[in-house]
């Protein structure tokens, strides 16, 4: 593990991604403490204040400090998206591995069904789910987990199939090893690395999807300072106070970039190369 981290920090993507991740974790954990103002503190006199020494990123239509809302909003935006991705990825990985292991007709049936589910655009699936289950962050997170699962299943399956073809798996079969041993001890460690990379990149996608749902009013609900929600609320006032939109928009983009960078960096870090 330490080895992998060291290799990660040897790449520029790994370093930059890790730095951004550290900033994000800091914001999530200590956002409330670090914020100069309470995210709900309204100040009608200071409405639409432009960025200044008093409000580093300006104030919104209700006079709330944008920076504070941004910092506290990290907690509403990032952790749920990450959790949703990883739980969806876990389910997807199990289905994908199972499908690859079973092979034959079962594999075909499962694959075709996954392909069919993926014919519905992710956003649409999430929208239908949220409208069925009700608005709110938790349901949005669930919808995202459901969206992530099929594509992760597909990726897992193709990785698992490739691993299955390797001679060391055949050696294990020739030794008479049981199915459980082969899957858990021979295949899984080799399947895990590409999956972690894929899942990390999906987090970027999940954050974007979560913010989109909140933007459409179906994810986080006011007065939460989730970033997508902030963009949506600020839309009406884009003429007077564009900074109300630009700040959370850039925050979303930066977060997505952070996870994309990490994924790229992990790609190098987790693949042992010829070191002779």
């Amino acid at each position: 593990m330490i080895d992998a981290l060291r290799r990660l920090w040897r790449t520029p993507q790994g370093v930059l991604g890790s730095v951004l991740l550290a900033v994000l974790i800091l914001a999530c954990l200590l956002g409330g403490v670090l914020a100069p103002y309470s995210p709900e503190a309204m100040d009608f006199a200071g409405r639409f204040a432009a960025p200044s020494a008093r409000h580093w990123l300006g104030a919104d239509q209700l006079g709330r400090d944008v920076l504070s809302r941004l910092l506290v909003g990290a907690r509403s935006t990032v952790p749920l998206a990450v959790a949703a991705t990883f739980s969806g990825a876990l389910v997807g990985a199990c289905v994908g591995t199972l499908s690859a292991y079973l092979g034959g007709r079962w594999d075909e049936a499962i694959t075709r069904t996954i392909d069919a589910v993926m014919a519905i655009p992710h956003l649409l699936l999430a929208l239908i789910l949220v409208s069925t289950l009700g608005k709110g962050s938790a349901n949005a997170a669930l919808a995202i987990a459901v969206s992530v699962a099929p594509s992760m299943a597909r990726v897992t399956r193709s990785v698992a199939l490739a691993v299955r073809q390797q001679d060391y798996v055949k050696a294990a079969i020739a030794r008479g090893e049981g199915g459980a041993w082969i899957v858990l001890r021979e295949m899984l460690p080799n399947v895990a690395a590409p999956l972690i990379i894929e899942a990390t990149i999906r987090v970027a996608f999940a954050i974007m999807l979560f913010a989109t749902l909140s933007f459409l009013g179906l994810g986080a609900q006011p007065p939460a300072s989730e970033w997508g929600l902030m963009v949506s609320e600020g839309r009406r006032f884009m003429h007077q106070a564009p900074w109300v939109i630009v700040a959370p928009a850039l925050a979303i983009a930066t977060t997505a970039i952070c996870f994309n960078l990490l994924g790229d960096g992990l790609r190098d870090a987790l693949n042992p190369r010829d070191e002779r």
Partner: protein
């Protein structure tokens, strides 16, 4: 007369993340018109880099040391501009590549790829070039050349494609042709035909040729003179007939000694004991009948063979002969019809192979890179069969010693080992179970010839110690003739010959086997 190709004091470096690596040093050679110079080297010797250097197609991180010279006739290639090189390449010098299936563009017709050279360098019109190209294909003995011109590469066989590549290389009557292992990717018999073609064309055209290969035996038959390349330096250069009979340098001597020679037996004993394993009427079929699709042809049909205790049974065949499928059936990796009998027990399906069987029959695979789990240390890899078959885990160091690897390697991961070392670990893994039979599925094919020799020596030593039998699968008939007691020859899924080694030596073989023997000749001297 001045030589066609002259290389003088040439040195080459590659700049990598880990520093500058000198790949070629003090390279000097010359090739006269009509002469073939063979360049022999193992992997990492730099032979391919020399080919690129001559063709002036080096990778971006290559740095040529000042003072090195490469001349083609009167032209200084090193100083030539890229525009000048465009007119030289294809016309005055050309290249024949190793793998014909990747050297041809899959989305262009064969005819297009041959005629474009003629249009470019001989100034012919498209129509004239097409006609000339068709003639060129006929000249390399391709049947239905006109039809082949209109087809795509994937519709031609490996041998046909290589003839196309050769025809293209000869098309503009170049002064020099560089051959980069042109028969390595082909079957033995097909490769032999290509070499015959090469001999004929060379006599007709008087072209100068640089023939690069790792196969010393083959090169000594093809070339007039042979240069041996070791780690970027030419250690010896001599006429082809002398390189085998009277090598002067140590490295050359070692290479020569490592080349398999059928008359040089490495195994002295006779084996007449009891039968260890018997396989009857084995048929292996891959794939099943799917919706709207017919079932694929069988990989092997009705194969019957037996292995005696302590015997080395060689299995020879070209690709597609079914020899690997036999290995898979015997180890339970592929379903089969037929019966396998081991120690009195009859097994008619892979499900019937119990732990005792699995322990007695072990396998070593061809590709060392994929046969070891990259996420397990050598210790993990070796400990598992020990645990499984009731061995003692603490004997891992002893296992490593048996395969002549240092005990410290136990802590390493596969990617930290060389190809030969990985193969030794795979062998140790097989022997951890104290098997009665070890199936070697083309295990020396990807290795250098000297590494191959040491692996074979290791296998024979292990056999002396443990009395293990081997099913040695390979396409190298000469190697098998050195070590096997009996030989099985396979073709298209069926056994053509099952012979004692004496019969092979005396030539009491079927026509197909005779063809194979002729295509893999013993080296000169």
């Amino acid at each position: 007369m001045s030589p066609v190709l002259q290389v003088r004091d040439y040195a080459l470096d590659y700049v990598t993340r880990d520093g500058t690596q000198r790949v070629l040093q003090d390279i000097s050679l010359a090739i006269e018109a009509g002469e073939v110079l063979g360049l022999v080297g193992e992997s990492g010797s730099g032979k391919t880099s020399l080919a690129w250097a001559i063709m002036r197609h080096l990778p971006g991180n290559a740095r040529e040391a000042p003072g090195g010279r490469i001349h083609l006739g009167g032209t200084d290639l090193v100083a030539a501009s890229s525009k000048a090189l465009e007119t030289i390449r294809g016309r005055r010098m050309s290249m024949v590549f190793q793998d014909p299936s990747t050297a041809l563009n899959p989305t262009l017709t064969i005819g297009r790829q041959v005629s474009e050279v003629l249009v470019r360098h001989r100034g012919l019109s498209e129509k004239e070039a097409w006609r000339a190209a068709t003639e060129a294909l006929e000249h390399v003995d391709l049947r239905d050349a006109a039809g082949l011109m209109k087809r795509y590469p994937h519709q031609a066989s490996g041998g046909e494609k290589q003839r196309v590549v050769i025809a293209t290389a000869f098309a503009c009557r170049p002064e020099l042709i560089v051959f980069d292992e042109p028969t390595t990717a082909l079957d033995v018999i097909t490769g032999a035909r290509i070499l015959e073609l090469f001999g004929r064309l060379r006599a007709e055209t008087g072209v100068a040729a640089l023939y690069i290969s790792h196969d010393l035996a083959l090169v000594s038959r093809v070339a007039d003179r042979v240069a041996i390349l070791e780690r970027g330096r030419i250690v010896e250069e001599a006429p082809a007939d002398r390189i085998f009979t009277a090598p002067t340098q140590d490295y050359t001597r070692r290479l020569v000694a490592a080349v398999p020679r059928p008359d040089h037996r490495l195994v002295g004993d006779q084996v007449t004991g009891e039968t260890l394993l018997r396989a009857e009427a084995i048929a292996v079929r891959y794939g099943r009948k799917r919706l709207f699709r017919a079932a694929p042809a069988a990989a092997t049909e009705d194969v019957t063979l037996d292995i005696r205790r302590g015997e080395i049974l060689g299995v020879v065949g070209e690709s597609g002969s079914g020899k690997s499928s036999i290995a898979r059936a015997l180890t339970g990796l592929a379903d089969y019809d037929g019966v396998i009998t081991l120690g009195g027990r009859r097994i008619d399906r892979t499900g019937g192979m119990d732990r005792a069987y699995r322990r007695a029959v072990q396998i070593v695979f061809q590709h060392p890179d994929s046969s070891l789990n990259p996420r397990q240390t050598v210790a993990d890899i070796l400990a598992r069969p020990l645990r499984l078959y009731g061995g003692d885990v603490s004997t891992v160091p002893a296992l490593l010693e048996q395969v002549r690897l240092p005990a410290g390697h136990a802590r390493r991961y596969p990617h930290q080992l060389s190809g030969g070392e990985k193969q030794r670990v795979a062998i140790a893994r097989a022997f951890a179970a104290r098997p009665a039979l070890v199936i070697c599925d083309e295990i020396t094919a990807p290795l250098d010839v000297s590494v191959q020799a040491s692996v074979v020596e290791l296998l024979l030593g292990l056999r002396d110690t443990h009395g293990t039998a081997y099913l040695f699968i390979t396409h190298d008939l000469n190697l098998v003739r050195q070590i096997a007691h009996r030989i099985v020859v396979m073709r298209a899924g069926a056994i053509v010959d099952l012979l004692d080694i004496d019969a092979v030596r005396q030539g009491n073989v079927s026509p197909y086997t005779r063809q194979l023997m002729a295509a893999s000749p013993a080296p000169v001297g």
